[in-house]
């Protein structure tokens, strides 16, 4: 399963990452960070859909996203 980690103290809630995700799993959370921005997140229930494409990280202006990719194995992601 691929996944992203949002570094919440860097995120500014601009939502650009939400527009480029091919599986549409990034949303704005209800949490505010120390700067008062509502940070982006992937809800637990959608986590396994991440393909590890890194589009979200490429468009993030604040280098707030790390992407971990797991090679596809038979019968799973």
């Amino acid at each position: 399963m691929s996944r992203i980690v949002v570094q919440e103290d860097r995120c500014k809630g601009c939502l650009l990452c939400t527009t480029v995700c091919p599986v549409n799993i990034i949303v704005q959370s209800d949490r505010f960070n120390v700067s008062g921005y509502k940070v982006a997140e992937v809800p637990e229930s959608d986590a396994e859909k991440c393909t590890g494409c890194a589009s979200c990280a490429l468009i993030c202006p604040d280098v707030a996203i790390k992407v971990y990719r797991t090679p596809k194995t038979k019968g799973g992601k």
């Binding site: 500014k12 939502l15 604040d62 280098v63 990719r69």
Partner: protein, 256 residues
């Protein structure tokens, strides 16, 4: 456990300092910084870089990129970088300038540094406005675009038309590479990085002056959301400021 096989495929470049930036949400300066940082890491230039920063929202760039830096007075980065490179020719020297800085107050410096073919690289962030000072008209402001100094929209008759810097720079003899990219989409960000890499290589292999314009969003002064700002780049900016490589002498010979 799947975590055992997982690979970190995207992370903050080493050279980018881990500190939240002062930029507005959705500001493309952050993307431009990251692309420069990725290339300095990948080309292993970091320890040998002398950055010349400018005046504008990116004035604190030295807080975000872990390289030695000189802060130039408004518009004068190409002149300062000329001196820096001539004094330390073994170093990698680049300027990072906004459109107010480069195309307005600094028009003379950029034109002559390019024309002399200084062996420096220029990163030009064009967001069609003076961002830092609250959104005044820049030489690159589009016709009809409202700013604090053209509240009814820029009028061609009285204010002239937006200057296409990359085309002008490409026409100068000393220039090795001139290209325009955009930071509004994943695809364009990838291409913009290729332009920057080419421009940086022109310096590292001694070919000469490299110039890359990056069409960038300033949601705050455009009074838009970051999403709307990206749409504006697609719909209004790219048609006027076409993307592509306008000069590349590495493709056709080179200068001595």
């Amino acid at each position: 456990m799947s975590e055992i096989n997982e690979k970190l495929v995207f992370d903050k470049p080493e050279i980018i300092i881990d500190r939240a930036t002062h930029y507005c949400p959705g500001c493309h300066h952050g993307i431009a910084h990251r692309l420069v940082g990725e290339l300095l890491d990948e080309m292993e230039l970091g320890g040998n870089t002398l950055m010349t920063t400018s005046i504008g929202c990116s004035v604190f760039l030295y807080n975000y990129l872990n390289v030695d830096a000189v802060e130039a007075p408004h518009g004068r980065a190409p002149a300062v970088a000329t001196g820096v490179k001539r004094a330390r020719p073994d170093h990698f020297v680049f300027t990072y300038q906004g459109d107010g800085d480069l195309a307005s107050i600094g028009m003379a410096e950029i034109m002559h540094a390019a024309n002399r073919g200084e062996k420096i690289s220029v990163v030009f962030v064009n967001n069609t406005v003076y961002g830092m000072t609250g959104g005044q008209m820049a030489p690159t402001t589009l016709i009809g675009q409202k700013t604090t100094t053209c509240p009814n929209g820029r009028c061609e008759t009285t204010q002239g038309s937006p200057i296409r810097m990359t085309e002008i720079i490409a026409s100068l003899g000393g220039v090795a590479y001139a290209a325009r990219g955009s930071l509004d989409s994943v695809k364009n960000i990838r291409t913009a990085k290729k332009h920057l890499k080419k421009a940086f290589e022109c310096q590292t292999n001694g070919t000469g002056f490299g110039f890359v314009e990056l069409l960038s969003g300033c949601p705050t002064n455009w009074k838009m959301t970051p999403l709307q700002a990206n749409e504006r780049i697609q719909n209004d900016m790219i048609p006027y400021f076409p993307l592509g490589v306008f000069k590349d002498i590495s493709e056709d010979g080179g200068i001595c």
